[in-house]
């Protein structure tokens, strides 16, 4: 049975860090349109700090819950603004779920995504349609739950979740910001994608690829 275990999470964090680094300028550009232009920097630096923290001796053998707690603290220590507490809370919440279920199988992928989403929702108190990263995470959670309830295999569940997040990130361009820095622009934020939703979709795409790889390898 394939699980959301430590090797899976290490692969995901390394890949997310690399993808965010590649998209650093693009995300900063998006944020510069409606925010303060630092979203790419915050995300790329924050996930790089996670990867560094996870290189510490013993981490490769640590249980997945502990890995996520370490990642949460590393992100929180590196990133301020609103993004820092939001992703730190997401990772902490997922860590709690994996501490309770250290062998959470990939066939319950939606529970992992839901935990990340819950952490962001709890900390940020945003609602659906507020034009924030939560929109992408909620869309992914709903899609993953639906696919699992239909009996889809994990790779399809994760792929549908990523697609839903990407679609929702595009849809944030049609929303008027009511939370976060962009809220000051109100209707002037129309036509611009929310950078937090775009980076969330990017993370979910990495997760989908990692699930597909893991299932494909028969690891």
């Amino acid at each position: 049975m394939h699980a959301i275990d430590t090797p899976f999470l290490l692969l995901v964090f390394r890949t997310v860090a690399r993808r965010l680094e590649e998209n650093r300028d693009a995300l900063c550009g998006l944020d510069g349109e409606i925010g303060d232009g630092d979203h790419g920097t915050s995300m790329a630096n924050g996930f790089a700090a996670i990867v560094t923290a996870l290189r510490a001796p013993g981490m490769a053998e640590a249980p997945p819950g502990q890995l996520l707690r370490t990642a949460s603290m590393a992100f929180l220590n590196d990133v301020g603004a609103t993004v820092g507490p939001l992703y730190a809370s997401a990772l902490l919440q997922a860590g709690k779920v994996l501490e309770a279920r250290p062998d959470l199988p990939l066939s319950e992928f939606s529970a992992f995504v839901a935990a990340l989403t819950d952490g962001i929702a709890f900390r940020g108190k945003a609602r659906a349609g507020d034009k924030t990263m939560l929109d992408a995470w909620l869309a992914a959670t709903h899609a993953a739950r639906l696919q699992e309830s239909l009996g889809a295999p994990p790779a399809d569940v994760a792929r549908k979740a990523a697609e839903a997040a990407e679609e929702e990130a595009r849809a944030t361009a049609t929303m008027i910001a009511s939370r976060g820095r962009a809220a000051r622009l109100k209707e002037r934020s129309l036509g611009h994608q929310d950078p937090g939703a775009v980076s969330a979709a990017l993370i979910l795409r990495v997760l989908a690829d990692a699930v597909a790889d893991t299932m494909g390898q028969g690891r």
């Binding site: 929180l76 301020g80 507490p85 900390r123």
Partner: protein, 330 residues
């Protein structure tokens, strides 16, 4: 606008480094966190610690208010961006003299989250932390939703009162009560004449057309309540006093402190032009000015404009306001 700039990514570190060098008689850098500026004499054993923090770009706020009888430690964020929870907890530790720590900060989403997380970490370390959240910006929400209002230059009075109270040896709950009364007695309004630009972004994310002004603008360019034609300084001053005092029903005879701060690019002489009119308008309402502060106290990069803050004094607030302080900003 042309800038004195090296690498935009280094601007905050260089600002803090230069500040600590220039004011080494007043402040020091936290040895474990270069984003925490600590008053030279902190922590004071047995005294309630005073902590604040916020995004950079508002200098002399926030670091300029670290000093004796004022703020003990300041957490420093990126430009217009909340400090990390780590910097807040490190500031709390640096300010902790064993009598608890009051974190006095402004009402912004990032600061709220990071302070909340730092407060939980402090509890684990056995440090008692209480908070006061500044919400003096009148135009950011209606009076009956005061908890939603943002904190602006009134924060300076909150720090001054809280810092003086702590210096007197008051308990944490007494310090917090005085700081809360100070911010409750504050009302502020901003008027923007021109936008500001984050160097890394390269363009302003809001515009104020020539000949226009934005009444009620926030400290990061949050939209005001009215966009209208630029008027004379006297008319603008009248409008600002009206907004601030209509929100705060003060009995005749009340003594007030007034703070007029430039937002970064407005010449200081224009602030005095505003103040010339403001004091008369305040007097016309039967109030008297006990102290006035005019200058660049809380800026927003190179925004053109000004904020006016009125603090209604009672005997205690007046006494605490008059306590001598040593910091770079005040």
């Amino acid at each position: 606008m042309q800038r004195f700039l090296n690498n935009p990514d280094d601007i905050v570190d260089e600002t803090v480094a230069g500040f600590v060098k220039a004011h080494r008689d007043l402040v020091k850098l936290d040895p474990s966190n270069p984003r925490v500026v600590v008053a030279r004499n902190a922590p004071v054993k047995g005294k309630v610690g005073i902590v604040t923090g916020g995004g950079s770009g508002h200098e002399p706020a926030f670091i300029g208010y670290a000093g004796r009888n004022m703020v003990d430690a300041v957490a420093v964020g990126e430009l217009f961006s909340s400090p990390t929870a780590k910097s807040f907890i490190d500031a709390i530790k640096a300010a902790d003299g064993g009598a608890g720590v009051a974190v006095l900060y402004g009402n912004y989403a990032g600061d709220n989250m990071n302070v909340k997380m730092a407060r939980r970490m402090a509890a684990k370390d056995g440090i008692e932390v209480a908070t006061v959240v500044a919400n003096d910006d009148v135009c950011s929400a209606p009076l009956d939703e005061r908890a939603k209002r943002r904190g602006v230059a009134g924060e300076i009075f909150m720090w001054k009162i809280g810092g003086a109270k702590a210096a007197e040896g008051a308990s944490l709950s007494e310090v917090v009560a005085s700081a809360q009364r100070a911010i409750d007695a504050c009302r502020s309004v901003g008027v923007g004449l021109g936008p500001c630009t984050l160097p890394a972004v390269g363009h302003p994310n809001f515009l104020i057309e020539p000949g226009k002004m934005e009444i009620g603008i926030g400290h990061h360019g949050e939209p005001g309540t009215r966009l209208e034609d630029l008027k004379t300084a006297n008319e603008v001053a009248d409008d600002m006093v009206r907004i601030v005092l209509d929100d705060h029903d003060l009995p005749a005879g009340t003594e007030v402190a007034v703070l007029v701060s430039g937002l970064g690019a407005t010449p200081v002489n224009e602030l005095y032009v505003l103040y010339d009119r403001i004091e008369g308008q305040i007097a016309a309402r039967g109030l008297s000015v006990h102290r006035a502060y005019v200058g660049n106290y809380f800026t927003s990069l190179e925004m053109v404009g000004a904020t006016v803050t009125v603090l209604a004094l009672d005997d205690e607030l007046k006494r605490l306001l008059d306590v001598e302080t040593a910091c770079a900003g005040f």
